[in-house]
Amino acid sequence: MSRDFHWLPNIPNIRKMNAFKRDKKEDEDGSNQFQNLEKTTVLQEARTFNDTPVNPRKCAHILTKILYLLNQGEQLGTTEATETFFAMTKLFQSRDVVLRRLVYLGIKELSSIAEDVIIVTSSLTKDMTGKEDLYRAAAIRALCTITDGAMLAAIERYMKQAIVDRSAAVSSAALVSSLHLTTVSGDVARRWANEAQEALNSDNVMVQYHALGVLYQARKSDKHAVIKLVAKLMRSSPKSSYAACMLIRMACKLVEEVDEGSEFLEFIESCIRHKSEMVVYEAAHALVNLGRSGTREIASAVSVLQLFSGSPKPTLRFAAVRTLNKVAMSHPAAVIACNLDLENLITDSNRSIATLAITTLLKTGAESSVDRLMKQIATFVSEISDEFKVVVVQAIRALCQKFPRKHAVLMNFLAAMLRDEGGLEYKAAIVDTIIAVMEGNVEAKEAGLAHLCEFIEDCEHTSLAVRILHLLGQEGPTSKQPSRYIRFIYNRVILESASVRAAAVTALAHFAAACPALLPNILVLLSRCQLDFDDEVRDRATYYCTILQQNADPAILPLVQPPQLSIPSLERALRNYVRSPMDEEFDISQIPPAQAIEEPAQEVLATVKPQQPRLTREENFMEKLLQVPELSAIIHDSILFKSSTVFELTESETEYNVKCIKHCFSDYLILQFDCLNTLSDQFLEDVRVTVDNQDIYTIVCEVPCVRLPYNELGSTYTVLKFPEDIQSTIITLPTTLRFIAHDCDPSTGIPDAEQGYGDEYTLEDLEITVRDQVRGTGSRNVDFSSSWENAATRGFVTTEQIFGLGANVTTLEEAIQSLVMFLGLEPVERSDRIKSGARQHTLLLTGVFRGGKEVLARAKLVLTNHVTMQFTVRSQDLEVAELMISSVG
């Protein structure tokens, strides 16, 4: 869009020039003539397009208004859009160049909303093949937006011609459009590859680049063809720097995918000596990001970046220091060589460069330089944009992890930043960091809570205030002096919006439940909240008052702080329960926990994403499974207990690609097989994966995938019933892909008339593990020791065994990781984190086995030469407990 707009002032058209001048004058008055446009009025004006003869000047003005509105985000309905579109097609009768180019833009904007847009196909093909050069490239771009699968054949001939056209603009437009058209029909690029190959020899740098893009698209799914393409071009080295950069990216991908990729790595390294800076940078950037690069490659890349960081061009300096900043995470030692150059950039007049330089130094520097660098940042932190402030915050977060002793300096700095101006994302990054520092360092907790309290006194972001109040409710009661937080929290009740007040009420209740000494005072405060005029606040206050008054026993804690369950599943289960005779008590343990928002553990560079409530992975799958009638008949009353991760049953680059997901219900296991047929000359029918049940599982049903055309994903399902004997659920099952194949014409995908033939294809074995049948409870603050002690009274049985872990497990961290991985239980009380240097550790695990059977486990680990483990499991079900034990051995 913008590309075409930039074009306009260049058109040698006096009338346009005048119009342009006048616009400028209006701009100086500070008024934008498009500012107060009204959609209905403008669309009314668009009727002028129907007048004969066309008034180009007037129509261009109206069309510009329409485009302006659309780009401001105004939505048109289908009828409005269609009416406007057809009126606009009348403008093809005018030969005014400016107007015609605006019409192309209009076509592109409306093509996805209006109906019957293919009406302009002939008009556009006429323009793209016509004499007027100003039309040709733009007409191609417009044409490709209105072309659907059915129309593709009609324009194919023109597109092929345009790709090899002498005009570079036309050729580029056609090449780029072919890439866009791959969404309409997957094999466009392959069908036009001959023409693209010819365009690759063009003298024009853009054409060469775009041609390479199309050729890659054409071969993408055939790795050998890609290897051949890259290998050939590596030798001749493209003239176009853009193409060279793209070639480097393709080579990178091959280095990661192909076992014997050393020639590609060598090629990338050789590009470091290319004459174009862009290519050199691309190569350096590639080398530092490649997993396969060794010290030598990293060093040569870093030396180039070092050179660039002293360039007079700000873009090069920026690119270099930004990349060094990233390398500092993975290869800090390599970046230390640049420290002197980075020091020079600290005072760079471009603040973005300075910020990146400092944060890089913070990552590589010694503890002693932290204070100096922090002071330096403080001098200009107010001048940089939020985006870079976030970079600074992330660097501080990394520093806190690296130098825990520096937390006081860093915490103060964070607190100062918190007081500064800044948007939500920036503030959220600071709060996240403060919380992370508190979590990692007990000493920082009091100071952190104090800073956060100060922050919510004057915080304009509701979402942050709510989060902090929640945190205060969690952490405040166990601090040295819980009472000091009450005032901060109660102030919120008086001063803030309803959602903040509600959060404050909940936080107060947490204090009251955990600190009996505070209970009487908080009850007074809560009773005042019962008069709040917001329903939610009042309801919460009433609820807490009632349960807190009833009983001063610590058992009420779960009522104040219920486990975070998945709301959609809870709703579904309650609905089913109400429909049942309700003889038994409602079993809440069946409800899966709400999707925990996974925090990037050590990945400091992770961007801060807006956190939104969402369906759990299981709930998403469940909705899809329920849409398959055969499956819905079996599972509509059940809850999907757990879905496994996706795993491949085929090697990559085979003719058929099959991936599997195991969906575990309390009595059934649904195997979802996602199949892809990569043979363009085959059309498959009745595709199924047969599972050899070894006479242990019962096969309840198979839902075949009825038709599987080339390159489209199709799913088939097999439903298994778990055997009664829990021990025998752990098994390896051979699987086979079976289907009816039809040969078909690769260009159309239409199968030959002949009868298909049955065929089969052996897949990898499928394993069913403990992990598939177990999940965590998702309640963060489980009091493990009381559950553990009280287990016997709740009818739990205990089994225990001592293990010496295998030679491949040599550290406590590894032991913990593999145990958690293997069993699918969830570590609680942060017991999966161990003090560095510790030689013994106790890991506490909780979870639920399918069917809602609770499991508690304790692993006492001792490190000598190898790791010894005393493993104790308590469960309501002896068989489940034994399964846990036996599967570890």
Binding site: N50, D51, T52, P53, F86, T89, K90, F92, Q93, D116, I118, I119, V120, T121, S122, S123, T125, K126, M151, A154
Partner: protein, 190 residues
């Protein structure tokens, strides 16, 4: 001298009048071939391929500039003709007089056109071309008048002419009739 004359002509209102005509008919009846023939020798295109949607063509005759909307006659596009009814000064309706099989379809489309609100009340000249008369066993114009019920057309001047769009036979007389009609109805009246 030329420049001056142009200017004067403009001034006294002799400038070429611009009119729009709609060219419709089933696919393959010869619409694009007919229009191509009206154009100047040097603007004609040599190979005519099926139109997708529509194409705007220009030609001049007797000091009137014609803008012709050459509509696609394929099934899928016929329902879109109506978008272009508004504001047109005349209609050229082309029939393949050799395509007896589809003559009922032609009648259906014609009736729909005549009943359309944008057309029904208008005094619009309609030129029927019985094209491809060079082919053996073609319907005559008299046959067509009865088959299509042209004699029942009210309030609209119409004319039927047998043509061969490849050689151009009949086209001259036909366009002359249309030009005169449009001049009478739209230009002289103003």
């Amino acid at each position: 001298m030329m420049g001056l004359f142009d200017h004067l002509a403009n001034f006294v209102g002799l400038r070429k009048k611009q009119v729009n005509v709609l060219v419709v008919g089933l696919n393959n009846s010869g619409k694009s071939t007919v229009i191509n023939h009206f154009k100047n020798q040097n603007e004609r295109c040599t190979d005519i391929i099926p139109t997708i949607g529509f194409s705007v063509e220009k030609f001049a005759f007797k000091n009137i500039g014609f803008t012709a909307f050459d509509m696609s006659g394929q099934d899928r596009y016929r329902s879109l003709w109506e978008h272009y009814y508004k504001g047109c000064h005349g209609i050229i309706f082309i029939v393949d007089s050799n395509d007896k099989l589809r003559i009922v379809v032609v009648k259906e489309e014609l009736d729909m056109l005549l009943q359309h609100p944008e057309i029904a009340g208008q005094k619009l000249p309609i030129l029927f071309l019985a094209n491809k008369i060079d082919l053996p066993n073609s319907l005559t114009t008299i046959n067509l008048v009865t088959c299509l019920g042209l004699d029942k057309i009210q309030n609209k001047p119409w004319h039927i002419q047998a043509t061969n769009a490849i050689t151009g036979d009949g086209l001259q007389t036909a366009i002359e009739w249309l030009t005169d009609q449009i001049r009478d109805i739209h230009i002289n009246r103003r």
